[in-house]
């Protein structure tokens, strides 16, 4: 059984369609990434999947429950860390966590044990009786994560958990995410950082309410760049008009990249002839495309 199953989900606000007939599934134990520009509909989708927003159309199953079972049963089965900062600034760390425990009906003894364990898990080294207001940004995110994990949910939704925190705190947070996945939890995470997207098992790219691509990072790269991406360097000066002639002879793109150029070849024979003509003056390396390259292509493709 999948952790999340979404079929033909549509969410409309009045006449504006924020999520437009999306269908996908997330397997148990996956780290599933959600990417897309601002306003693409990521948060709206997550709010549906966490029971906070009723779908306008379509079916949703989360942890085996659907909206027909009541939004509250979904809420009790998933953890959610909002894109917004949602802790109470004027309460202490432990007061915030105790409040969440109370709302989640976690027995006090269990809650105390879990809070301790989770604070240790996230490496929280401040005093739990410090006011949240006085914590640095990264630590606030850690406490938010603990609050989302208190009821030990099988699925955790993290909406831009690393927005606005330092690179060091980001990589630490991702170590936590991998740790949770190892425990068998399903992680559903949105991000704007490409290096974070690389960490996901699969990623969905959203654009204007639709999913325009969904696969593992490696597959997405292979699909977007079926021909090898090559990095070339003219060691003894470039001949005039080489770029134009290369494009005429069957290169899909020639993009300057520092001192080098990235070339995508779609006519292998023509390329080999070109290299033969310039032996000794040209070094060629095959390189892997970055996810950034992939998304630029995908979004351009969707725009066309």
């Amino acid at each position: 059984m999948n952790a999340v199953e979404v079929s033909e989900l549509t969410v409309r606000f009045d006449s504006f369609t924020a999520v437009d007939r999306i269908t996908f599934a997330v397997g148990v134990g996956e780290i599933f990434g959600f990417l897309g520009a601002n306003g693409a509909g990521k948060t709206t989708t997550i709010r549906v999947l966490t029971g906070l927003l009723s779908p306008t159309e379509g079916r949703v199953r989360v942890a085996g429950r659907s909206f027909a079972d009541g939004a509250r049963t979904i809420k009790s089965r998933v953890g959610y860390m909002s894109q917004r900062f949602t802790l109470y600034d004027d309460l202490t760390v432990s007061e915030n966590l105790a409040f969440t425990s109370g709302l989640r009906k976690i027995p006090p003894a269990v809650s105390a044990e879990r809070i301790q364990r989770l604070l240790r898990f996230v490496g929280f080294n401040h005093s739990p009786s410090a006011l949240v207001r006085d914590l640095p940004g990264g630590l606030k995110q850690d406490v938010s994560l603990v609050a989302a994990l208190l009821h030990d949910p099988d699925i955790v939704f993290l909406d831009e958990p690393t927005a606005g925190v330092s690179p060091a705190a980001r990589s630490k947070f991702w170590a936590l995410i991998r740790g949770l996945a190892r425990e068998g939890k399903t992680i559903f995470v949105t991000t704007h950082h490409m290096d974070e997207a690389e960490e996901c098992g699969r990623i969905a790219l959203m654009r204007a309410g639709r999913i325009i691509a969904l696969d593992s990072p490696a597959e997405l790269k292979a699909q977007s760049f079926p021909d090898p991406l090559l990095e070339i360097e003219w060691t003894a000066g470039a001949p005039a008009g080489w770029r134009e002639s290369l494009l005429e002879r069957g290169a899909a793109s020639v993009v300057p990249y520092g001192l080098h150029h990235h070339v995508m070849v779609n006519n292998r024979a023509a390329w080999d002839r070109f290299v033969g003509e310039h032996t000794g003056r040209l070094t060629v390396r095959t390189i892997a495309p970055s996810l950034e390259d992939v998304f630029i292509r995908l979004v351009e493709g969707a725009d066309r």
């Binding site: 966490t50 906070l52 600034d89 409040f99």
Partner: protein, 376 residues
């Protein structure tokens, strides 16, 4: 609802209440406002709004000039509420009223003595300057009492005095209008502060984003409403205690009723106003807007329509019926009844019942209007 479900509701409500207490314990400004403003305003306005009407200038125009007519004037003079004035030559009665030299005019028509002797209806007319609403109603209440005294002294065999006209004397025998004002003021101030307190709480959580985390748990709207209502109820009862102390010690206001009944009335009234604040908060979701709404719906109607400033009996019919929906109107009645008349629960069945119905209705409405859908 099963016992277990009830326990679940109370458990979450308790968590929310505990959290609200923690917010409050760190929020000196709100605490000071909740506890200080009612006491401060009641003391301040208790002094300023002194409606005691003593020695009202009463212009006497005696066209009868008999012993009987003079004894009628004596009745007015003896009561200390009026000081009789004569009409100076060249002045007109209306002119004296307009100049404010007199607040009322007593016309005694010729033949007044003759009529009383024959036990026919004797006629004397009183004209009151109606421009000052409060004074007018106080004068009118004096007159209704004096009328009995006058008829008794002029015509000894008029039978039993007309008790109907004496109601105001019964529960405010010294005609002390400050008592009257302070009890009414207490209601208005308490209502205003309590509406504002809860109007901000839910809106604040929407604005800061904490509502999203609250709603991502399986909490129910009813649990949120109860959890938010309870601590503010306690806070406002604290304000009631302080204000009660001030009213008793400062102004020497009598307390003739039972404290249990008073507490019940306060709890019912506060349920209404706190739920009204929550309703505003739940609907507006914005503190600024919630503040404006609570001033508009909390302060204005309570001041104008509760019977605190303008007597309900003298309102246009539409407004008179409108006041039925106003918790403050019923609480004014209950408070004056408890403080001044020593009314018990049975006497106050109507106002207390109305408060209970309004309270339950407002809580239900706040719960119903609580949308758990999160907006951006």
């Amino acid at each position: 609802m099963s016992g277990e479900a009830r326990r679940f509701i109370l458990g979450r409500a308790l968590s929310i209440a505990r959290k609200e207490v923690r917010h409050l314990s760190r929020d000196r400004v709100t605490l000071a406002m909740a506890l200080g403003v009612p006491v401060g305003l009641v003391i301040l306005f208790g002094y300023v709004l002194d409606y005691d009407v003593k020695r009202v200038g009463l212009l006497v125009i005696d066209r009868d000039q008999t012993r009987v007519s003079r004894s009628l004037v004596d009745v007015f003079a003896a009561a200390d509420y009026f000081s009789p004035l004569a009409l100076p030559p060249g002045a007109t009665p209306l002119g004296r009223l307009e100049e404010g030299r007199a607040k009322a005019v007593l016309f005694i028509e010729p033949g007044f003595a003759r009529a009383t002797a024959k036990a026919q209806p004797a006629r004397a007319q009183i004209v009151i300057d109606g421009s000052d609403n409060q004074t007018t109603s106080v004068i009118a209440s004096y007159l209704s009492g004096l009328q009995n005294a006058a008829s008794r002294s002029l015509v000894p065999d008029t039978g039993p005095p007309q008790a109907r006209l004496r109601t105001r004397f019964l529960f405010n025998p010294e005609l002390n209008s400050r008592w009257f004002v302070v009890t009414g003021l207490f209601v208005v101030v308490l209502g205003m502060v309590s509406v504002l307190l809860t109007a901000l709480t839910v809106a604040r959580e929407w604005e800061t984003g904490s509502m999203e985390r609250l709603l991502s748990t399986p909490v129910r709207p009813l649990e949120i409403i109860i959890g938010k209502l309870a601590p503010y109820m306690a806070l406002c009862l604290g304000a009631v205690g302080l204000t009660y102390g001030a009213a008793r010690l400062w102004f020497g206001i009598p307390f003739n009723g039972s404290h249990g009944t008073f507490l019940l009335a306060c709890v019912l009234f506060l349920t209404c106003t706190l739920a009204q604040g929550l309703l505003i908060s739940v609907v507006t979701r914005q503190q600024q807007l919630a503040m404006q709404f609570s001033n508009l719906t909390g302060l204005l109607p309570a001041t104008l329509l509760s019977g605190f400033v303008f007597p309900i009996e003298s309102m246009p019919v539409f407004f008179r019926y409108l006041t039925v929906l106003l918790p403050a109107r019923w609480f004014v009645v209950a408070c004056r009844g408890i403080f001044l008349k020593g009314a018990g629960i049975a006497d106050l069945a109507l106002p207390l019942g109305a408060l209970a119905v309004l309270g339950v209705g407002l809580v239900a409405l706040a719960v119903k209007k609580f949308k758990t859908d999160v907006e951006p």
